[in-house]
C-alpha cells in the first residue's frame, strides 16, 4: 500500500484523461474536489490487488451521466461515497477498499473521492483499462461474474437498489433508465467483488499506469520536450497520425454520443487524412476506407502541443491533434473478450487486428 502524493493526483487526472480514449468524462471537477481535500491534509492510499484477501469485499464505483449535466451538477465527492454506503447497508457488511469500474477520464478518480469519505484505500486496478460506454464491456462481464446488485443515488436523496438482473446487458438497460429519471447524473456502486475476483479478473495496476502517463507528460512539458513522445515511450504506444481537425459530426442515438471526425494531415502526414468514428469513446480509425485501428486497442486523440487528451464531446474544428494507439488489456484480446468489446460489439462488421501484432 502506498500513499498518493499531491503530484500523483495531478498526474492521475492527466493520465486518466488519456486512457479515457475520448470518454469517461473530464477529470477536471474530480481533480478540483481532490485538491480541496489534499489542501486540507487528507491523503488517499493505493492498495495493490495482490495485497487483498480472497474474501475482502471491494466496492466498484462510477459516475454515470451526460457530460452536459456534469457541467452544471458538478461532481460531488459525497454522492459517490453515498452510493457505496447504500450498498454497505444493502449487503450488511463493510468494504475493504474501493475500485474504479473504468480508469479512463473522470471515472478514474471517483474511487478516490469515495475513499476520502469512507476512509478506506483505493485498489490499483479497474475493469476496463480505459473507458467504454456500457456495463457489459468490463473484464468482470468477460469473466461472466454476477452483474448485480447495484445502487444508484442522486443528490436530492433518492436511492435505488437493483437487486438482480438476468444479464450484464439488462443491468446496463435498467441502470441507464434510473440515471435518466434521476436527472441524467447518478453515482453508482456496481456489483461488489471479492478480493479473489479482483485478483483474477480485474485489470491490475491501471491507476499507477495513469499516474505514470501523467508524470511523463508533466516532465516532458517541464523540460520543453515532446509530451507525445513521452506518452508513447511510457506505454509502448504507436504513433498513428498528426494533423488538424477539419470535420466533426455528432448525433445522439439510444443515449449515446455517436459521430465521426476527420483529421487532415500536417507535416509528414501532409496530403492524407483519417476518419475516426466514436461512440462516447474513439472506436475505429479509418484511412482510405480501411480500418487502421479499432477497439479494444486504445485510440487516443491528443493535443499536438500539450499532449493533453481531447474528448469526443470537446473535439472541435481546427484543433491540432496527434492520434496514437496504446495496447489493450490482454483480457479483451481473447475471442470472448472481443465479443464484448471488439468492433462487432459496436456494430462494425470488421475483424479486429491489433496494431501491436504486425
Amino acid at each position: 500500500m502506498r500513499q498518493l502524493s499531491p503530484e500523483d493526483i495531478e498526474a492521475l487526472s492527466v493520465g486518466a484523461w488519456i486512457l479515457g480514449t475520448g470518454g469517461g468524462g473530464s477529470p477536471y471537477h474530480a481533480l478540483l474536489n481532490l485538491r480541496r481535500f489534499y489542501d486540507a491534509g487528507v491523503r488517499v492510499d493505493l492498495i495493490d490487488p495482490d495485497e487483498l484477501d480472497d474474501d475482502d469485499a471491494i466496492a466498484v464505483v462510477s459516475i454515470m451521466g451526460a457530460p452536459l449535466v456534469f457541467q452544471e451538477r458538478l461532481v460531488d465527492s459525497r454522492l459517490i461515497a453515498r452510493a457505496v454506503s447504500a450498498m454497505e447497508e444493502h449487503l450488511g457488511r463493510k468494504f475493504r477498499a474501493v475500485m474504479a469500474v473504468e480508469i479512463g477520464g473522470g471515472n478514474g478518480m471517483q474511487s478516490l473521492l469515495a475513499a476520502v469519505h469512507l476512509k478506506i484505500p483505493v485498489v490499483d486496478a479497474d475493469a476496463m483499462g480505459r473507458a467504454y460506454p456500457e456495463a457489459q464491456m468490463t473484464s468482470f462481464a468477460v469473466g461472466n461474474l454476477a452483474p448485480y446488485p447495484l445502487t444508484s443515488v442522486d443528490p436530492r436523496g433518492n436511492e435505488a437498489i437493483v437487486g438482480k438482473t438476468s444479464s450484464w446487458k439488462w443491468m446496463e438497460r435498467v441502470s441507464r433508465k434510473l440515471c435518466t429519471e434521476f436527472g441524467s447524473i447518478v453515482a453508482t456502486c456496481k456489483a461488489p467483488r471479492t478480493g479473489a475476483e479482483v485478483k483474477k479478473w480485474a485489470i491490475p495496476h491501471t491507476t499507477s499506469k495513469a499516474i505514470n502517463l501523467g508524470r511523463a507528460v508533466a516532465e516532458a512539458n517541464r523540460e520543453h520536450a515532446d509530451p507525445i513522445a513521452a506518452i508513447l515511450k511510457a506505454e509502448s504506444g504507436k504513433f498513428l497520425f498528426s494533423g488538424k481537425i477539419v470535420e466533426v459530426e455528432r448525433r445522439t442515438t439510444e443515449g449515446f454520443l455517436r459521430g465521426r471526425t476527420v483529421v487532415e494531415g500536417l507535416g509528414d502526414d501532409h496530403g492524407s487524412q483519417i476518419r475516426i468514428d466514436f461512440q462516447n469513446e474513439w472506436i475505429v480509425v479509418w484511412r482510405d476506407g480501411q480500418a487502421l485501428v479499432s477497439t479494444p486497442d486504445l485510440i487516443c486523440v491528443l493535443d499536438s502541443e500539450s499532449g493533453e487528451a481531447i474528448g469526443t464531446e470537446t473535439i472541435r474544428y481546427g484543433q491540432r491533434t496527434t492520434v496514437i494507439a496504446l495496447p489493450a488489456a490482454p483480457v479483451f484480446l481473447s475471442p470472448r473478450g472481443l465479443d464484448h468489446v471488439g468492433p462487432r460489439a459496436f456494430g462494425y462488421d470488421i475483424d479486429f487486428k491489433s496494431v501491436f501484432c504486425s
Binding site: L68, V69, D76, R156, G183, S184, T252, L257, G271, N280
Partner: protein, 527 residues
C-alpha cells in the same frame, strides 16, 4: 450614417470618421494613462468642423481597460455570490480554482441555498426564499453592493435567479445584481466565474463610461455612445457599464471586422500587426471565428465566447537582436517614438529594420544606415517565418488563403508568404480597429437546451429569443440577420434534447431618425 469609431490600444488610440460607409478621416494619438484624455484628444484630432456633430449618429469606443483591470488586479470591487443549487454542487463552492490573489480581491462572501432546475426544465429543488431573504440582509449588513446570483441550469430557466435578484433589490436599495444566466451558457462554474468578474468590474465600468461621456461632451459631441463587444458588435454605453466582461476582447475583434469592411472580403485570415503583438484571426462571413472553448481571463476559467486568436510577440516596437537574428517578444511599446533608432533612441526595433529595408519611411533614415544589409535580410526572413507559421495555424485546409494585413506594423508583412495566395492591404489599414468599431452592429445571442422540439422548431425558438435580446441591446428590429446557428445533440438525455446556439445581428437603431424628420418639417415650414 456618420459615425466616429475609436479603439484604445496599449500604444495608440485610433479614431476614424465614417460617412456614408466611407472612411473620411483616420487619426492616431498616443494612449494616455487615464485613457479618457487620449480619447478626447483623438476626437479633437478629427476635423469635424465642417458639420461638427450635427449629423453624427454614434460614437463607438473599443477599450481593453476592463480586461487589463483583471490581469493587473486593479480597480476590482468585492462581490457577494449566492449560488442556488443545494443540495448539489456544494463541494465546489464559488471561487474554486481561482488564483489566490484575485479571489482575495473579489470575494466578499459566498452563500449557497436550495433551488435550481434540471436540464429538462423540471425543478431540481424548491427555491429557499427564506434563506435568500436572510442572506440579502446579511449582505446589506456587510455593506456589499455587488452581488452575483447563479442558479443550477439557469440558462434553461432563469426564474430562480430572477426571484433572488428581486429579493436582493427589496432588501438592498442600491444593490447591483449580476444574474449569471445573462453572462454564460451551460457550465455552472465557468458561468459563475464570468458573472463574478463582471460584478467586480461594474464600478470601474461605470466610472470609465462616465469619463468617456465626459470626454465626449468636452469636445462638444452629442451623439450616443456605444462600446464594442468581444464578438465584433456594440452595446449601448449603459448596457456596457452593466456587462463589462462583454467588452473584454474587443480590440482584436475590431481590427478583424475593420479589415473585412475595408477589403470587402468575408473569408480570409487577418493579421493585425501592432506595436507589441501580431494578432491572427480567421474571418468567416465577415466575423471572427470564435473560440468554442474555455477561455482563461487573468487565470480564471470562463466559457463566454471570445474570438479564436493567436497572438505572438511581433510588432513595430519589437526588440531586435541582430546577432541572434531574433524578434521580440519584448517591445518598446508606447516608447517607440523615443526609443527606436530612427527616432533618436538606441534600441533596435522592428520599425528600424523596416526603415533600413525601405519598407516604410519614418524618422531619420541615416540613423539605421549602419545596419548590415545581411542582418536586415536575416531579420526579415525570420519575420516571414513567424508570419507563415501562424497564418498556417489559423487555416482550416492546406489550400492557399487570402491574408489581409492591417495595423501600424503591417509593413512587416511581405508580399509573398508560403500558403498565402495574396496579401491584401487596404487604405486606412493602420486604423482598421477603429474602423471595426465604427461599423459595428448590435447582436443578440442564445445558448440553451431544447427538448421535445424538432431541430427546426428549436432553432426557430432560439432565434426569436436572440432577436428580442438584440432589440433590447439597441438593434433596429427591421435589420436583424442570422449570423450563426449551431445545434448539438446531447448524450444520455431523452426527448431528443439538443443544445442550440444562435446569434443574430442588426444595425443600431438610428437615434437621428426623429431629429431628421423634425428638421425636414422645419425646412418645409420655412419654404
Amino acid at each position: 450614417m456618420r459615425r466616429i469609431g475609436i479603439d484604445v490600444g496599449g500604444t495608440n488610440t485610433d479614431a476614424v470618421l465614417i460617412d456614408g460607409g466611407k472612411v473620411v478621416q483616420g487619426v492616431k494619438v498616443a494612449t494616455t494613462a487615464d485613457v479618457t484624455s487620449g480619447v478626447a484628444a483623438a476626437i479633437e484630432a478629427l476635423d469635424l468642423s465642417a458639420e461638427h456633430d450635427s449629423g453624427l449618429d454614434a460614437l463607438m469606443i473599443g477599450t481593453t481597460h476592463f480586461i487589463n483591470a483583471v490581469v493587473q488586479r486593479r480597480h476590482l470591487t468585492k462581490v457577494a455570490v449566492i449560488r442556488v443549487a443545494l443540495p448539489a454542487t456544494s463541494s465546489l463552492p464559488p471561487f474554486t480554482d481561482w488564483p489566490a490573489g484575485l479571489a482575495e480581491l473579489a470575494n466578499g462572501g459566498v452563500f449557497q441555498i436550495e433551488g435550481g432546475h434540471d436540464y429538462d426544465g423540471r425543478r431540481f429543488a424548491p427555491l429557499d426564499t427564506t434563506a435568500a431573504r436572510r442572506i440579502a440582509r446579511e449582505i446589506r449588513n456587510l455593506g456589499l453592493k455587488y452581488v452575483v446570483v447563479n442558479a443550477l441550469f439557469s440558462p434553461l430557466d432563469p426564474s430562480d435567479e430572477e426571484a433572488v435578484a428581486a429579493i436582493l433589490r427589496e432588501e438592498i436599495p442600491d444593490v447591483s445584481v449580476t444574474c449569471a444566466h445573462l453572462l454564460g451558457g451551460i457550465g455552472l462554474l465557468e458561468r459563475e466565474n464570468a458573472a463574478i468578474l463582471n460584478a467586480s468590474l461594474i464600478a470601474l465600468a461605470r466610472e470609465t463610461i462616465t469619463a468617456f461621456e465626459h470626454a465626449k461632451s468636452k469636445v462638444g459631441l452629442n451623439a450616443p455612445l456605444f462600446v464594442t463587444q468581444n464578438d465584433g458588435t456594440v452595446a449601448e454605453a449603459s448596457r456596457a457599464a452593466t456587462y463589462p466582461v462583454f467588452s473584454f476582447a474587443s480590440g482584436a475583434t475590431n481590427s478583424m471586422r475593420g479589415a473585412a469592411y475595408l477589403s470587402g472580403l468575408k473569408d480570409a485570415v487577418v493579421v493585425d500587426v501592432g506595436g507589441t503583438t501580431a494578432d491572427f484571426g480567421y474571418l468567416r462571413n465577415g466575423f471572427p471565428r470564435e473560440a468554442n472553448a474555455v477561455v482563461h481571463i487573468g487565470g480564471v476559467r470562463t466559457l463566454f465566447r471570445m474570438p479564436d486568436l493567436v497572438s505572438i510577440g511581433l510588432g513595430g516596437g519589437s526588440h531586435i537582436d541582430l546577432e541572434a537574428a531574433t524578434i521580440g517578444p519584448l517591445s518598446v511599446g508606447y516608447r517607440l517614438s523615443t526609443e527606436a533608432l530612427v527616432f533618436g533612441g538606441n534600441r533596435v526595433t522592428a520599425t528600424d529594420i523596416g526603415v533600413a529595408a525601405g519598407l516604410i519611411d519614418l524618422g531619420d533614415r541615416k540613423r539605421v544606415a549602419h545596419i548590415a544589409a545581411d542582418d536586415v535580410k536575416r531579420i526579415l526572413r525570420r519575420c516571414k517565418e513567424m508570419l507563415e507559421e501562424n497564418v498556417d495555424r489559423m487555416k482550416t485546409n492546406a489550400s492557399d488563403i487570402t491574408l489581409i494585413a492591417v495595423g501600424g506594423g503591417a509593413f512587416l508583412v511581405p508580399e509573398e508568404l508560403q500558403g498565402v495566395g495574396r496579401v491584401v492591404r487596404v487604405q486606412h489599414g493602420g486604423c482598421a480597429n477603429a474602423v471595426g468599431a465604427a461599423i459595428a452592429q448590435v447582436s443578440g445571442e442564445v445558448d440553451q437546451v431544447f427538448q421535445g422540439l424538432t431541430r427546426d422548431e428549436a432553432v426557430a425558438s432560439a432565434r426569436k429569443l436572440a432577436e428580442s435580446r438584440a432589440v433590447e441591446a439597441g438593434a433596429d428590429s427591421e435589420s436583424l440577420a442570422l449570423v450563426e446557428a449551431e445545434d448539438t445533440p446531447i448524450a444520455y438525455l431523452p426527448g431528443n434534447a439538443m443544445r442550440v446556439r444562435v446569434k443574430v445581428v442588426g444595425n443600431i437603431r438610428s437615434t437621428r431618425m426623429g431629429q431628421t424628420a423634425k428638421e425636414k418639417v422645419t425646412c418645409q415650414s420655412v419654404s
